[in-house]
Each structure stands twice: as C-alpha cells, then as structure tokens.
Symmetry: C2
Subunit: 273 residues, 2 copies
Amino acid sequence: MLYIIGLGLGDERDITLRGLEAVKKCEKVYMEAYTSLLSFGLSADGLSTLEKLYGKPITVADRDMVEEKVDTMLSEAIASDVAFLVVGDPFGATTHTDLVVRAKELGVNVKVIHNASVMNAVGVCGLQLYRYGETVSIPFFTDVWKPDSFYERIQNNRKLGLHTLCLLDIRVKEPTWESLARGKKQYEPPRFMTINTAIEQLLEVEQQRGESAYDEETECVGFARLGSEDQMIVAGTMRELLAFDFGAPLHCLVIIGKTHPLEEEMLNVYRHK
Amino acid sequence: MLYIIGLGLGDERDITLRGLEAVKKCEKVYMEAYTSLLSFGLSADGLSTLEKLYGKPITVADRDMVEEKVDTMLSEAIASDVAFLVVGDPFGATTHTDLVVRAKELGVNVKVIHNASVMNAVGVCGLQLYRYGETVSIPFFTDVWKPDSFYERIQNNRKLGLHTLCLLDIRVKEPTWESLARGKKQYEPPRFMTINTAIEQLLEVEQQRGESAYDEETECVGFARLGSEDQMIVAGTMRELLAFDFGAPLHCLVIIGKTHPLEEEMLNVYRHK
C-alpha cells in the first residue's frame, strides 16, 4: 500500500492522527522536497524533528528522484506499506496525480490522507472560497521570457466578480546553465517569489496589455507563511502591498473580486494600516 | 483565546496533532453540529468517542445556539481557552467568518487550526483544483420554490472550460410548519441531498432554460463520504450517475470542464463501469 499523506501547512504538528498512524506502520517513508523544504524550515534539523516524531528515517525524494526513481518506491509499495509525505494536501496546489496513475498501472493500492492546503486555508482571510474563480500561477519573469497567460484568467474572474488566488513561483533545484553545458548537475540557489515581485509583474503586464483587468488601486490580500505560527495576512491595494515587507517565504496573493458585507467586515481585521 | 479547530472530513482521527494539543488545553469545548452530526456518525456514541479522545466533555452547539448563544462562548474565551470544533476546515464550505468578526469586536483572540475541507479534498479525483471556477450550491426544490441561480454560474464556468464543484443541500434542524405555528420548536427529520436528486434538478433546470449549459451526456464526478474509509468516487455522465446508488451522505458533485490528458488518465481510475 502506498499512503500519500498530506502534512498540512505549518510544521510537524499539522499531520493528522490518521496520517501519523499510517506513517508509523509504514516500512519506508519518503518525503517530497520540491516545495516542502522551507515550509517546514527543513534544514537538517527540521528533518530530524520529523524523524523523531515518526520514530523512523525519512528518505527525501528530491526533484530528480520524483522524476526518475519513483518506480523503486512503487515497487516497494507492492509488497509493503510505504508512505509518501507531501506538504499541504496531496491534491492541493501541487498535485500528485501522475504518481497515483503510475501506482494504479503497477497494481499498487493507494490511500490518500488529506490535510489543509493553501487552496482552502486562504479562506481564513474571510473571502468565501466558493466565490473564487480559476487559480493562476505567476512565474518569475526574465528579460526575454514574460509569460502572461494569468492576465486573461484574472480578467475573466474579475468580470464575474470572483476572487483570484495567485500562486507565486518557486524555483528549487534548478540546474545552472553552466552545469547543463558540462553535463554535471549543479543547482541555482532556491528562489521564492515575494508578493512584491508578483505585484510588480502584474502591474507590468497590465501596463502592456492596457485592458484594465486591474490597477494599482485594486484590493488584494497578501499571505505569508500561511498556516504557520507567524503567518502574516494583510489586505490592501496593490500599491499599498507593493511597499509592504511580508518577510520570509512562502507568499501568495489574492486579488479581490466583488465582496459581500461580511467579507468586508472580515477584511477590515486584516486591513493595511 | 478562542481556538477554531478544523476536524477534517472522515472521523475523530482526522484532527491534527496541533488541533488535539489545543483541545486538550482548553477549559471548554464546543462543537458545531450543523453539518457535522452525520459526517462523523455522531450518534451519542460518536460524541463519546470524541470526548474519550479529548479527555473532556463537549458541548454540542446546535443551530439555535450558534445563532443565539455565541456570546456566552465568546465571553468565556476572554478569560480562558475555549475550543470551537468544526467539521472540515473552519473556512471551507461552511465559513465561520461571522464568529471571528464578533470575537474581534469583543477583543477575543482567535487562532485558527486548518484541516482538509471538501473544497480541497475533491482534488483526489484528479481534476486539478486550479481549474475550478466558482462553486455552486444546489438547494432542495419544492413544488413552488426552485431557485436556479447555480445555472448561470455553471454556464460561466463551462464557457471558460472550468470544472464546477456543486455542494448539495443539507437540511438539519428545520422547524416543522406545525411547530412554527404553535410557537413550540419541533424539527423535521434531517435531509441530505443525494447526487441523484442533484442531477435530476440540474436537468430539470436545463430543460426549462434550454441554453445548453450541460446535458445528460455531460461528464461529472460524484463523491460520497469524501475523506472517510468508505468514500466512493465515480466518474460518468449525468445519465450514468443518475442511476448510480452512492449510499449514505454526504454527497457532492463535480461537473467536469475541459480536461488535460493527465486529468483524463486519473478519471479513468474512477470511471463508471
């Protein structure tokens, strides 16, 4: 059996009792490291905190492994219980559909243990989840590569009065250009997009497209370290949030659509002062 | 401090370690019963299972109390630690924004402990959460009352190729007409909309409106008891699902928009046979 277990958003205490029970009975425990390293402050210390809680070693399944060596994990899961740990929910912002499909092809039984994800935890700001439209991803722009497919989606959502959750780019284990040329893997330092960069890029695209999907005065909510003890939630215009320091990653951003009075009342709690 | 704690979807083992820790240190524990009774099989037995796990009594805050007596709970939370337990996530399908706003007005500190919600756990079927449009609610129709505002929303989502999550009506503690007339509260037995009823009503509205937002051949996914050990997930056309018996509540339904190949592969796992 392959258990795909959501760890939630904050730290090691966000696993569910059901999830912990499953980890404890598994013979082997893998952890997806793609987005998880920092969410859980996963220095060597963070990992050992988890290992102490679970009472067993964890194999960090970094991006290379997730892409290249998943079959080893799956073949282990045919004969024994294996856990694959995922920060947030297994089918939240980063989905593990491909893993489930491959497992099913190999005849491996899969059990999913859900948890909170950024996709539902943003509800804490008071904007109702059922009033969100399509979610968009904001990728890091370079001088020559500025993909802006998010623009049209935000525009569509706003025409319908819906809120838009913007997931901000994470670059972990990106091979350097140099290493690609030499055929020897070396990695860029990890990069996490801030709310400030996201808003800069959003406004840059608006200036180019000029279709008034949003502007500097558009109301937003910025979230940093959502679900952690030191989470930060601030509501304000793009202009206001552009100048605000949200601190350490992860960040995400919601562009507000049409609000109800109760949503407004709740946003006031988080209003930029 | 008022802790608003999500319990997740399945049973008592879906609380997080952080949530359980909070409950254990609270002097008083309330539980929202509006939608929760059945999710956790909350007969008297279910409640005592929770009380045993927490090591303390739980006050069930039924709908009357949630509306009328919340201030008692909030005033207790000024001087001591109080837990308010919510099935799913505190800001998922049913939101508790009003509670937070009232708490803030009274100067009560609030801490939210997130968990899985139907809003993110539907991701398990393989349809990616960021490709969902606005969520709709399908209310029970009567002979004279058939509100169909969901129709336009589904139509808008489908025009954009987006999936639609349909939350199905729950009627708990509805006063009987007779009791309203007599001024003495008596309640109708609880009712939970099945996927079958939802599809019947959807097709009834399509027939009246005739704008081809969807039809009998539209692909959907039906979910029953999502997140529980005996959850059921079936993908098929409205016509196919209309004839399918999903068993006990809670049910919800996703109307599929435009799919990617990986979404299709995953749906095949759940395809109606």
